[in-house]
């Protein structure tokens, strides 16, 4: 149904060309929002939407942008989109907006956005840019969810706020790993994900 190039654009970032574990972009927010699964999920969705939209907009105006100020133009587009999304959330989904609080604003500084705009949207048409944005956003979301899953499960014994490790285990001496709540563990976990990912992909290459 989809051509090979389209497939690569959309699905490549999910695995072989993942923005977090291969391009090492967006690490900063991956550390901040992965203590629990819920903010990680919402952040993943928000970034996906904003990357896709800003990719399309920049791609549409790419031929008119003066080269010397292109980064500023990209930044204005991203900042305007993020502000719009946060205003709309505050009006129609106040609870979600409160949950995301500063992270929503931090999307502006997420390197994946600028990276994709500069590397892809500036030289490709709008449809491909949309797919590239969706792919990269989802690739980012997957890593966030993996890291948040491990951190919330081991750090608080919960998933999405529900207790999953039974009281029985605590009665027999099991304890939550407080280290998992620290940002440093997120970095180590991202490192582990990169390790697993590399060793799997190297095998395929051989």
């Amino acid at each position: 149904m989809l051509s090979q190039k389209t497939k690569d654009t959309l699905l490549g970032p999910l695995n072989a060309n993942n923005p977090v574990v291969v391009q090492i972009l967006g690490i900063c927010s991956a550390l901040a929002v992965t203590v629990q699964l819920k903010p990680a999920l919402v952040m993943g969705i928000a970034v996906t939407i904003i990357v896709a939209m800003s990719n399309v907009i920049v791609s549409l105006i790419r031929n008119t942008i003066p080269m010397r100020v292109r980064i500023i133009v990209q930044l204005v587009v991203v900042a305007a989109l993020v502000t719009l999304v946060s205003e709309v959330l505050k009006a129609f989904a106040y609870d979600v907006a409160m949950q995301l609080s500063v992270y929503l604003g931090l999307i502006i500084t997420n390197c994946i956005l600028m990276g994709r705009l500069e590397a892809f949207a500036m030289t490709n048409n709008a449809w491909d840019s949309l797919l590239d944005g969706l792919g990269n956003g989802l690739g980012y979301a997957i890593i966030l969810v993996i890291v948040a899953f491990v951190r919330e499960l081991l750090g608080s014994g919960q998933l999405l706020g529900f207790q999953v490790i039974p009281q029985w285990c605590y009665d027999h001496g099991y304890e939550n790993c407080g280290m998992m709540l620290m940002p440093a563990m997120a970095l180590i976990l991202v490192g582990c994900v990169i390790w697993v990912h590399r060793s799997l992909n190297d095998k395929e290459a051989k």
Binding site: I65, P66, V76, Y94, S101, V102, L181
Partner: protein, 219 residues
């Protein structure tokens, strides 16, 4: 004719147009959504006050529940105190605000009619760490405050301390801090202390103002 997109004039005009478009767009959206956002903020505040009063509003319209319970607002300079009538008992709700680790924290403290016993408390925060400082909003932490006294034996307002397990406060009551969230916990402690001093005028008019309050809350 092809435009030279690298000329200074083009760049200047282009940026001006882009910025004007974005500014107008954001201003229009912000204006259009402002009433809805204000309504959300008000509703959120009412829900938080109901939370401090430990009222279950899941089965009803929170705003309606709020207006039947909270019937009066007392003003003390900049400070506002909400007076609620909960099953015949008068409760005072004091808004709080302070600083956490990453940003502001706030909350509502519901006091019994004696202006001493804490009936309930509700906290909120802007950006505390999920799983650590953000736990101040959870019932496990908040319920510790219930029944504590903000005055010492002599009747002076001394607040309630938030301390790590094992530490003891001299001359005031205390609750357990959240482990791993030292700065947020002490932020809550400081917030209570500072805010209660600011409510001195309200807290000290111990019996004089009470009859008046009764009349007002029965209206």
């Amino acid at each position: 004719m092809k435009l030279n997109t690298n000329s200074n004039i083009y760049t200047f005009v282009y940026m001006t147009v882009v910025v004007i478009i974005v500014a107008v767009l954001l201003a229009v959206v912000s204006q259009a959504l402002a009433p809805k956002q204000q309504a959300n903020i008000l509703l959120d505040k009412q829900k938080q006050i109901l939370g401090a009063l430990k009222v279950d509003f899941s089965q009803a319209d929170p705003a309606e529940v709020y207006y039947t319970l909270v019937q009066d607002t007392l003003n003390y300079g900049k400070q506002e105190v909400y007076v609620a009538n909960l099953n015949g008992a008068v409760k005072y709700i004091l808004p709080l605000s302070g600083k956490g680790l990453w940003g502001g924290i706030g909350g509502y403290l519901a006091l019994d009619e004696d202006k001493n016993t804490i009936y309930g408390v509700n906290f909120n925060h802007e950006s505390e760490t999920p799983g650590l400082g953000a736990k101040i909003v959870e019932p496990e932490f908040r319920s510790q405050f219930e029944g504590k006294h903000i005055r010492n034996a002599e009747g002076a307002v001394v607040s309630v301390a938030v301390l790590k397990a094992g530490k003891h406060a001299e001359g005031q009551e205390q609750v357990d801090a959240i482990s791993g969230a030292t700065i947020t916990s002490s932020g809550v402690s400081t917030m209570l202390e500072v805010n209660l001093t600011e409510y001195a005028e309200f807290l000290n008019e111990l019996n004089e103002g009470k009859e008046e309050d009764h009349v007002e809350s029965e209206d």
